[in-house]
Symmetry: C2
Subunit: 319 residues, 2 copies
Amino acid sequence: MARSSDPHDLFASAQNGDRGAIARLLSFIERGGEPGRLVGRLAYPLSGEGYTVGLTGAPGAGKSSLTSALIGHLRSLELEVAVLAIDPSSPFTGGAILGDRVRMQDHATDPGVFIRSMATRGHLGGLALATPEAVRLLDAIGRRWILVETVGVGQVEVEVAGKADTTVVVVNPGWGDSVQANKAGLMEIADVFVINKADRNGVDETRRDLEQMLELSDLPSDAWRPPIVPTVATDGTGASDLWEAVGAHREHAERSGQLAKRRSFRSSEELREIVANRLRERARDICTGDRWDALSAAVADHSTDPWTAADDMLAGVDA
Amino acid sequence: MARSSDPHDLFASAQNGDRGAIARLLSFIERGGEPGRLVGRLAYPLSGEGYTVGLTGAPGAGKSSLTSALIGHLRSLELEVAVLAIDPSSPFTGGAILGDRVRMQDHATDPGVFIRSMATRGHLGGLALATPEAVRLLDAIGRRWILVETVGVGQVEVEVAGKADTTVVVVNPGWGDSVQANKAGLMEIADVFVINKADRNGVDETRRDLEQMLELSDLPSDAWRPPIVPTVATDGTGASDLWEAVGAHREHAERSGQLAKRRSFRSSEELREIVANRLRERARDICTGDRWDALSAAVADHSTDPWTAADDMLAGVDA
């Protein structure tokens, strides 16, 4: 099928449910630049109705199986769902279904399910900026439930997953050792805990471990207290409990005003980051030409220091 | 001993070999800001004579043992040495000797050896900017051999280690699986390969593996070809061979002009990064006040998109 590659046309097709068009628009977003920005501008006014659920946890915790189980449950409720699988470690997986996400392919032919792996392929702001843009696109074309799955527990993953409306942190029995590195970061973003692979030993200890950490975090009495949901994602056990927990968090967040507050904070943060990126692009533009070459050479031979040279370069921008 | 905390005074003490003063100046650099910058300005004109050797490799490859063995060898040649152990994953280790670096403590009381762990504690440019500043400080106060050890093979580690004059990549027999993730990045920065733990099986296969990768990288005939040095760091075997390989690379790099080229490139990159950081600080300053609040609210309620809002904010900076 011959098709226009103009973002406006693609956006219209995407609104009519054309999956190829959605995929191409997401590629524009991944690559950043003017076309990506145009997609963002088209989507922005139409977005705001969708609800995002982030899923994160250590590699091997079973996030993909859990996402797949959740898709199955949502489909049984006749809800449409879109999934973004975020992979910061791989710059080359964009658009492809990853090997370990093979289970999700069960849903690949269901028109009520849209699944896409995301990586950065040039977007200057990285996945931290590209992901909310992708979410808004899916939202704007009418996907009201958007699952955002990240592959690890590094800083980027936690940051991306923590920007969802409800964040699900997936652990396993005996998780303590595997994610020692970023436990605090995970505790901070969790709205719901899942103990996946709950058919293994150690579920009670893990629950006590999590509860103890929640005690220590000293939540105010009216704050949301993350529930702990055991699941066996591979056979779907607990998927409906998880969905109920997500719904309970949503209701609490809406009623308490937390959702509006969180979204407004996220939107300022994003704006701040876009401003910073613009300035970074400007830095790239500044750092060329004869003046740059001369100052750069002066720093290289230690006749001036780099801070003084930077002041000199920036004097032009201040004026 | 009562002591001034003025960077000028500390710098003078550091030049006289006062280790406490060196440590405090490095803390200024870690924290960034004006005092750190002042330390940088003091060090810059006096630096340029030192030579840096970067050591990187997967966790558990034995980098700390190897560094320790190298220190022992350098001391046997009556050379003074400074070691910076860079740990991007931990923001809290600054100044402390890490647990797994305990072997280096053998040298802790030797006045010819200075060892320091570095982490970022506020430096806006992160370790990528703080490390060269720390190296220049050590250089400026007369430490001519500076070893920079990084703890992992992530992007930051490879970036930091790759900025040395000679970069040593440490692998183990059967390394293939452990560092799959960033093999290409390691190949690119390696000036010398070490196969540490060479008393284990698989040294020949690992050597063939490395040689094959070097073939594939299709080096020009006059280019430096990274030698492969087997070592057993725990008993010092191979430390002198490694030092000879480093010396051979240095000689080649000096004769061919590569060293000058590399240093000049590094210095431009650093200047570019400093300019970008200044602009980032400026972004932080811009993103406050009534105008920011109004635009931020407009984005939050989707009445304007963040790119248009960013344009509006930045219009003031352009003028």
